[in-house]
Symmetry: C2
């Protein structure tokens, strides 16, 4: 079940190489409210800067996205190329180009091959309605091994509306092949401010709490469109049903972010790091991210080594405040550290390490805040994929 009032198209522009659909559009048949969150990297790709300007209006009709080239570190020409791509789509759709959002993922520093993108545009627009949202999910893949999508249904004003999302990841980002991109569409009407608030909160708890290699891309973008095709009275921050919408969006983005981690470059295991009883949420997140980003923790997980010393050490350098002599650590339900020292459960813990999904819990005994971060293990395949990507 997909949200009403959206159409899709994909086409081949041979941006990096021929042989696959590498450009796509998402079009809303109705004017839509729109919200977005973007990379915090100081080096922002041209399409990211383009979207950041346009999103201020809170309105949109179309997204045009390509894989194979990030259009990052491409200077003024890159900015022109991003806007030209949006304008080409807008012209054919007869909408204002300020309502079309360009997104890119791929190699950094290579000029966009506009000589191949321009001629692909008529076919792309002609294809509108012939592709599915899942086809778009495929077109935006880079080193992803499977397309990623998720949906939620919820009742608003007595009618069932739908929220659907697609995303791509692979390296949490690999700035080269690049980026987390996420596009969410819904037929539920949501007022601009409420839509941005819901998206920002959902992203904060999902895409901002996953890490594959700790690198933050130049192109990370999450966009949501709400076209109101359901006919409900637009949800506001005060609507009774807004909290249900928020919850559904939280679930959706969490499911998508989990898929990204599952498909982390070279990953063999999904790891959830849960830090509890921290002094505050910032401390909980710091500790969880330090553990999730530690190459030593990730290689130990890969090697089925219940090496909790690496977890204690990572928490210790995370800058989170706690007393190491009070800390407890679990692998799944096996408590391996009790008050900062060995609980002598290495054999049981090693059995847990062999499972495909591992939950590392750290109780800091320093307060009441908690944070959860998803990551994956670090393997020889990650090295191979990233050492050999361009060659």
């Amino acid at each position: 079940m997909k949200p009403a009032g959206y159409l899709f198209a994909t086409a081949e522009a041979a941006i990096k190489k021929p042989g696959r659909k590498d450009i796509a559009v998402i079009v809303s048949e109705l004017p839509a409210t729109m919200a977005g969150t973007f990379t915090t990297n100081l080096v922002k790709a041209a399409p990211v800067r383009n979207c950041m300007k346009k999103i201020r209006s809170g309105e949109g009709r179309a997204v045009v996205v390509n894989s194979g080239n990030a259009n990052a570190c491409t200077g003024r020409q890159g900015e022109k190329d991003a806007e030209e791509t949006a304008a080409l789509v807008s012209g054919q759709l007869k909408i204002k180009s300020s309502l079309t959002y360009p997104c890119s993922t791929g190699v950094i520093g290579t000029p966009m091959p506009m000589e191949r993108i321009r001629p692909a545009m008529p076919a792309l627009v002609k294809n509108i309605g012939k592709s599915s949202f899942d086809d778009v999910a495929k077109a935006i893949m880079t080193t992803d091994t499977f397309p990623k999508s998720a949906s939620r249904r919820l009742k608003v004003n007595g009618k069932y509306g739908t929220i659907s999302g697609i995303c791509k990841g692979a390296g949490m980002i690999a700035p080269n092949m690049a980026t987390m991109l996420c596009f969410i569409i819904t037929d539920i009407a949501v007022e601009k401010k409420a839509l941005q608030a819901a998206l920002s909160e959902a992203v904060g708890k999902s895409f901002n709490r996953i890490t594959i290699d700790g690198d933050t891309s130049t192109n990370d973008t999450a966009l949501i469109m709400a076209n109101g095709a359901l006919g409900n009275k637009p949800l506001t921050l005060k609507s009774a049903e807004f909290s249900a919408f928020r919850k559904a969006l939280d679930e959706l983005t969490y499911e998508l972010s989990r898929l990204i981690v599952k498909d982390g470059e070279g990953a063999t295991k999904l790891v959830e790091v849960f830090v509890m009883n921290a002094k505050n949420e910032a401390d909980a997140a710091k500790a969880a991210l330090a553990i999730a980003n530690s190459s030593l923790v990730k290689t130990a997980v890969y090697g089925n080594d219940a090496n909790w010393g690496r977890i204690m050490a990572a928490a210790g350098y995370s800058k989170a405040k706690f007393d190491p002599e009070k800390a407890d650590v679990w692998f799944n339900k096996v408590k391996v550290v009790n008050k900062g020292i060995a609980n002598n459960k290495d054999r049981e813990a090693t059995e847990e390490m062999k499972k495909k999904e591992l939950r590392i819990t750290v109780d800091l005994h320093a307060g009441k805040a908690s944070a959860k971060v998803l990551t994956c293990d670090l393997t020889e395949d990650y090295i191979r994929i990233n050492a050999e990507y361009r060659t």
Copy 2:
């Protein structure tokens, strides 16, 4: 040439396994001034806490060090074991135990096998004078593939004095096998405050500016002893010859830190990241460390891929302030980025990538400060070493 007035011993205590010398002492024949720097990790090993207390006196006579067990996350018992080890050495040497500094490196979370350390002590003390400083360098190795030592000579009061140092590293640290340890001895007399100032400054520019995997150990320790066997008037912060001492110590620690990076786990290349014209030194260091710690940069270096986009992206998320459209990047002397965009020198750059040593220079054009960080590439061997260490 080694500093006068120091004696050394090594012995086998079979701490992790039998078959190698794994415990060592360094003894000064004269009372020495002493200074130290220690890990900033909140989780500090028992011997680190022991040393941190003792170093306040600025005095010392002996260092006792073992490999095979870090004595970290071992609770109160670990503290007792560290002090007992120091006391056993002190008792036999007939010095106060407050003058003996215990250091450990090895597995975290396993109690010290005191039942094997105690009986090894008489042999250790009996061996004093039979081993060399280089033998100590061998005894403290863990996954290091070669012992690391360096020396400098300098003229003080018309006589030649010597500074010698040894260290171990491997994983910049692998909290499991653990740690950067560095011991420096000199026969030049240096007053306490001056010795600590010189060491802190030298460590700040050397051991604190190298990274292999970004993890900071529970056991990192650098100690320096100055016994004055040269007979010079103790150097103070104001001595004319103190700046020469500082310079020699800076060079010595830089040489040692370079050896650690060269011997990084699985490394095939030495990489120097130099960030120049940053707004201030903190920004320069942030950018250099972000680049040096990026798994994507390190795998690209391993794969001979002149992938400068990953460098721009890492600088961009480092929190250093700069205008990406002004930044320049070089691989050795080949300029690959000019004002934030491609300089079209990929072929020449690829040739540079094939060399065993690579210098990545980033000009931020944001000020006048600079920072240099040493690192290595990230390879399949790093994964193998760390995934299989305990099993």
